[in-house]
Symmetry: C2
Subunit: 217 residues, 2 copies
């Protein structure tokens, strides 16, 4: 019983800090996306492809969340953009406080888009608001077509689904129409893009949409 | 501070119940494996291939853990083996109490192997002892070769690593030698098998080892 109370308190405190982050993003007209997925679905690769696409066109900053290592921050920093690594040291999700701390290291008035790459986990990050405009869930075709049904809260709380690794479809047992149908069954409002960081297919379309989101801010 | 205390209490209570489960497994000479991995790495497919291999040769029971749905239990029950589905309803890992409850539905004195398929999550299931003989971590080649470094606790707490989907190596950016090296850097004692549920490669070797574990009980 006491656990439930404390969990609620943790979430209330988190929501309070998330609201402060959100206010900062609004003031600075930053479009902020909280990228969530299983480990290895290609969050960092999608960030890399997006940075490549918008080189010198949009100011993109990145916050990387990992249980351990700064491998992802190293990958992203090669693109010459501001990047902050959060190491959660065992925790399976990012919280608003960690993002608030990370923001101290970024020039917010000079940022158009902020990607927050969450810890690879389809469960707990769904429950934590970081102050983002939206959660974008990435699902790799290699994970199969049933994940929206098995991890519904994540797909329900996301606004966009990026179906990644579509180049592997010929070699695996994943029906992309079933995956789309399952995702829309959980969340009929989900906007879906299909892409491949290997072949480049679909990257253009995703980036156009992202640009339109920035223009709306 | 109080959160830490309560978490410790939760883990202590869990360890107590896990010890009771372990005693039950020991009495009934059951080899119990706690299968842990990211979502979509192929835990259920490996269980299916193993059931196929040992048809009429070993008595295998399965406990399926999922946040939602009984899709995995449906898949496994087609093989005519006893299977219990645990729906955690939001929780990102199995706990010993849930396994204790599930065991009420199995004939333990008639079981050689018990597979407990945990919730797809590379973080929290590492912390919860279910009473198993060992944790077996599955890593799909499609998740990349850096996961042992990014989720070290899981690879440290596991005794065996199954590298799955090796048939996809020609199409993806995963260096299997780097993956092995990273895994052994975290846990030098890790026993590693490479396999593919699609091509069948490596299944025989994994099953032979599993059989030798049963004979030791």
């Amino acid at each position: 019983m006491s656990i439930i109370t404390i969990e609620r308190k943790v979430l209330e405190k988190n929501d309070e800090l998330a609201a402060r982050n959100r206010e900062l993003f609004r003031k600075n007209k930053i479009f902020t996306a909280n990228l969530v997925s299983s480990p290895g679905s290609g969050k960092t690769s999608i960030v890399e492809k997006t940075l490549e696409h918008f080189k010198d066109k949009l100011n993109i900053s990145v916050i990387e969340g990992d249980v351990q290592t700064n491998l992802d921050a190293e990958r992203v920093s090669k693109y010459g953009v501001p990047v902050v690594q959060i190491v959660t040291n065992g925790s399976c999700h990012l919280e608003a406080k960690l993002v608030q701390d990370a923001l101290q290291n970024l020039e917010l008035d000079d940022t158009d888009v902020l990607f927050i790459e969450n810890v690879g986990n389809l469960v707990c990050p769904a429950a934590y608001d970081l102050g983002e405009d939206m959660k974008i869930v990435i699902a790799s075709t290699t994970e199969g077509d049933d994940k929206p049904l098995k991890y519904p809260r994540m797909f329900l709380n996301a606004s966009v689904l990026l179906i990644n690794k579509i180049d592997l479809i010929p070699y695996i047992n994943c029906n992309i129409e079933v995956l789309r149908k399952n995702a829309l069954q959980i969340n009929p409002k989900l906007k879906i893009f299909q892409l491949s960081c290997t072949s480049g297919e679909g990257i253009e379309k995703w980036c156009s949409w992202l640009e339109s989101m920035v223009q709306k801010k």
